[in-house]
Amino acid sequence: MLKVLAALAVGAVLAGVASVAVVNVAAPTAEPPNKPLYNYGDR
C-alpha cells in the first residue's frame, strides 16, 4: 500500500510539473521575428 501511495505521489508531482509547464507555454510566445533575411539560428 505504501508503494502504491508513493507511486501516486510521484505521479501527482509529475502531472503537476507538466501542467505548470503547459499552462506557461500555452500563453502567446515569441516566435522569431518575421524578416526576409534571418540567421540559421541563435545559440
Binding site: 510539473v17 507538466a18 507555454v25 510566445t29 522569431p32 540559421y40 541563435d42
Partner: protein, 569 residues
C-alpha cells in the same frame, strides 16, 4: 496481436500528439525541413547534404502529393522509433512482457533529442535515429560465416534493410548509424547459438562496414570527390557555432545526458529550460542509465546481457565524447576540420548522442521491469506516460512551433516558368542568405525553398550565419565553390558602395540596389559576370523592384509578383 502492435500503435499515437497541427493541410516548413510541391529529381552543387533524401522525396512526390509524403515520413519516424526500441527491449528482456517494451518505445519516441532535431527540421537525420534499434538488432543477429555462408548473406541483407532509413536520410544519418553499429559488430558477444566469436566478430565488422559503404555511396562519392578536388570548404568556425549548449539548469553535460543540448536556442521545446521539468528529465535519465548498466553487469534470472550491450554502451560513450569535444575541447574538432574537410560533420556533435538515447530507452525498460515486480501492474503501466510528462510541451507541434503552410501562387508560377524552360543555366536565389522567415509560414525560419524547387542548378548562399548569443554573429564560409565566387561578386567593392553596413554579406542583395546609382557601370559588369558563371535566372524575394532591376541591365523581367521577382539574363 495487441502485444505485437502495441509499440506501433504507441508510436503512431505519439506521432499524432507531437506533430499535432503539422498534420493539417499544407507543408511543414521549419529550418532544414523544406518540402515543396512537385520537387524535381536533381543533384545540387556543394556538399551532398540532402542526398539521397531529396531524390527519394522527389520520386515519391511524383506519385503522391508532396505534403502527404512529408506527413507519412514524419509519422513513420515515430512508428519506426517506437517499434524498434520495443523490439530491442524484447531482446534484452525476453520474459519481461509488454509493459517494459512499451516503456522503451515511449522513451525513444518522446525525448529531447527527437524533439530538438525535429524542430530544427532534420528529418533526414531522424530517419537514421528511428532505424537505429533495428540496425543494432540486425548486426547482433547476423551470424558468423563460419556457421553458414548462406545465413551470413541473409544477415547482411537484413542489416541492409535495417539501415535503409538511414541510407535514405543521407550522410548524417549514416554517420550516426555507423558510430553505433560498428562497435556493436566489433564487440558482439557470444550468443545462445554459439555465434559471435573472435573470427566472427572480424567478419561481422567487415560485413557491417561493407554494407555501410555501399549504402553510403550516393553521398560518399560526391562528398569524397568534392574533398579530393579541394573545392569543399568546411569552416572550422562551425565548431563554435554548432557546439552543444546548455538548454536547462544542469549545464551542457546535464543537457546532453538528458538528450538535449542542441546548439540552436530556437530548436528547443517551449519551457524546456524550466528547472522542475529539467530535474524530472535528469532523474529519468539517471534511472535509465542505471537500468542499462544493470542490464550489463547483473544477472537477473530471465534478464541476460544482450549480444549488443557492450557495443551499444561503447557507442553511447563515444557519442557523448564527440558531443562534449565541441563544448569542452573545441580545439580538437577545429584542428581535425582544418586538416581535412571530411571531418566537417563533427562540428554538430550533439547529433551523435543518438546511441545514448537508445541505451537509455533499454535502461528504462529494465527499470520498469523492476518496478513491475514491486508495484501493481496498473501503476507500472503508468510509467509509459513518464516521458511525455517529462517533456509535455513537445505535444501539439511543440505548441505551434511546428505547423503547416501552403506555397502561394507566385511560387508555383515561378516554378512552372523556370522548370518549363529547356535552356540550360542556373538560377541565382536572392537575397543572399540561406534562411527566410515568410509571413505566410507564420514567421517560422526555413531554408530558402528555391533550393529544392527547380530542375536546374540553384546557386544560393550556403554560408551560414549563427547568432552567438552575445549579440555577435558567427559567419561560416560558403561550401559551394560557385556560391563563394558569386558571393564575392555580390559583395565586391565595385558592386557594393563602400558605405554598406558592416553586416554586408547578409544585407548586400537588399542594401546594394537600394543605395547604388542606377547608372553606375558596375551593374553592367554584374550581369555579365553572372552570365559567365552560368546563371540564367535570378529569383529575388522581398527586394525593391525598381532599384534592383537597374543592377541587371539586359535582364528580362519574366515574372513580377508581390513577393517574388524573376529575371532572365
Amino acid at each position: 496481436m495487441l502485444v505485437r502492435l502495441g509499440p506501433v500503435l504507441l508510436g503512431l499515437a505519439f506521432g499524432v500528439l507531437a506533430l499535432g497541427p503539422a498534420l493539417g493541410p499544407g507543408f511543414v516548413l521549419r529550418y532544414d525541413m523544406v518540402f515543396v510541391p512537385d520537387p524535381p529529381v536533381r543533384l545540387g552543387d556543394g556538399f551532398p547534404r540532402a542526398v539521397p533524401s531529396d531524390q527519394v522525396v522527389a520520386v515519391l512526390s511524383a506519385v503522391i502529393p508532396g505534403e502527404i509524403v512529408q506527413k507519412a515520413i514524419l509519422l513513420g519516424l515515430f512508428v519506426l522509433a517506437a517499434s524498434g526500441a520495443a523490439a530491442l527491449a524484447r531482446d534484452a528482456l525476453p520474459g519481461g512482457g509488454i509493459v517494459p517494451r512499451l516503456a522503451a518505445a515511449a522513451f525513444y519516441a518522446w525525448n529531447a533529442y527527437l524533439a530538438q532535431r525535429l524542430l530544427i527540421g532534420q528529418w533526414a537525420l531522424l530517419l537514421g535515429y528511428a532505424g537505429l534499434p533495428w540496425a543494432v538488432r540486425a548486426v547482433s543477429q547476423a551470424v558468423s560465416p563460419a556457421v553458414s555462408p548462406a545465413v551470413s548473406r541473409g544477415g547482411a541483407v537484413r542489416l541492409a534493410v535495417a539501415l535503409l532509413p538511414a541510407a535514405i536520410g543521407g550522410f548524417q544519418a549514416m554517420l550516426v548509424s555507423a558510430l553505433t553499429v560498428l562497435p556493436v559488430a566489433a564487440l558482439r558477444q557470444k550468443g545462445d547459438r554459439g555465434e559471435g566469436g573472435g573470427g566472427g566478430r572480424a567478419r561481422a565488422v567487415l560485413t557491417t562496414a561493407g554494407v555501410l559503404a555501399v549504402l553510403g555511396l550516393p553521398w560518399l562519392i560526391p562528398a569524397l570527390a568534392s574533398v579530393a578536388r579541394a573545392d569543399a570548404a568546411a569552416d572550422p568556425a562551425g565548431v563554435a557555432a554548432f557546439a552543444p549548449r546548455a538548454d536547462g539548469p544542469f549545464g551542457t553535460l546535464g543537457s546532453l545526458l538528458t538528450l538535449g543540448g542542441i546548439w540552436n536556442s530556437h530548436a528547443v521545446v517551449p519551457g524546456q529550460e524550466m528547472p522542475a521539468l529539467a530535474a524530472v528529465r535528469l532523474a529519468l535519465a539517471l534511472v535509465a542509465v542505471a537500468g542499462f548498466v544493470r542490464l550489463g553487469f547483473v544477472r537477473l534470472g530471465f534478464v541476460r546481457r544482450p549480444a549488443w550491450w557492450r557495443g551499444l554502451a561503447t557507442a553511447a560513450c563515444a557519442g557523448v565524447l564527440i558531443a562534449c569535444a565541441g563544448a569542452f575541447a573545441p580545439g580538437a574538432p577545429r584542428a581535425l576540420i582544418g586538416w581535412w574537410a571530411g571531418f566537417g560533420p563533427l562540428r554538430d556533435g550533439q547529433a551523435y548522442v543518438a546511441p545514448l538515447a537508445l541505451a537509455q530507452a533499454v535502461g528504462v525498460a529494465v527499470a520498469v521491469t523492476a518496478l513491475r515486480a514491486a508495484l501493481p501492474a496498473p501503476v507500472a503501466v503508468a510509467a509509459v506516460a513518464v516521458p511525455v510528462l517529462a517533456l509535455p510541451t513537445f505535444a501539439l507541434g511543440a505548441f505551434g512551433r511546428l505547423g503547416t503552410a501552403g506555397y502561394s501562387e507566385e511560387w508555383r508560377r515561378v516554378q512552372a516558368v523556370v522548370n518549363g524552360d529547356p535552356a540550360p543555366g542556373a538560377l541565382l536565389s536572392l537575397p543572399w542568405s540561406a534562411y527566410r522567415a515568410f509571413s505566410w509560414n507564420g514567421g517560422r525560419v526555413v531554408l530558402d525553398p528555391a533550393t529544392k524547387m527547380f530542375s536546374r542548378p540553384v546557386v544560393w548562399n550556403d554560408g551560414l550565419v549563427v547568432g552567438a548569443g552575445d549579440g555577435t554573429r558567427i559567419r561560416l564560409a560558403a561550401e559551394s565553390p560557385r556560391a563563394r565566387r558569386i558571393g564575392a561578386l555580390l559583395a565586391a567593392p565595385e558592386a557594393a558602395p563602400t558605405t554598406a553596413s558592416p553586416t554586408a554579406p547578409l544585407s548586400v542583395p537588399l542594401s546594394v540596389p537600394l543605395t547604388a546609382s542606377p547608372t553606375a557601370s558596375p551593374t553592367a559588369s554584374l550581369t555579365a559576370a553572372l552570365r559567365r558563371e552560368g546563371v540564367r535566372y535570378v529569383l529575388a524575394g522581398g527586394v525593391d523592384e525598381n532599384t534592383f532591376l537597374s543592377r541587371l541591365p539586359g535582364a528580362a523581367l519574366v515574372y513580377r509578383g508581390r513577393e517574388l521577382l524573376l529575371m532572365r539574363l
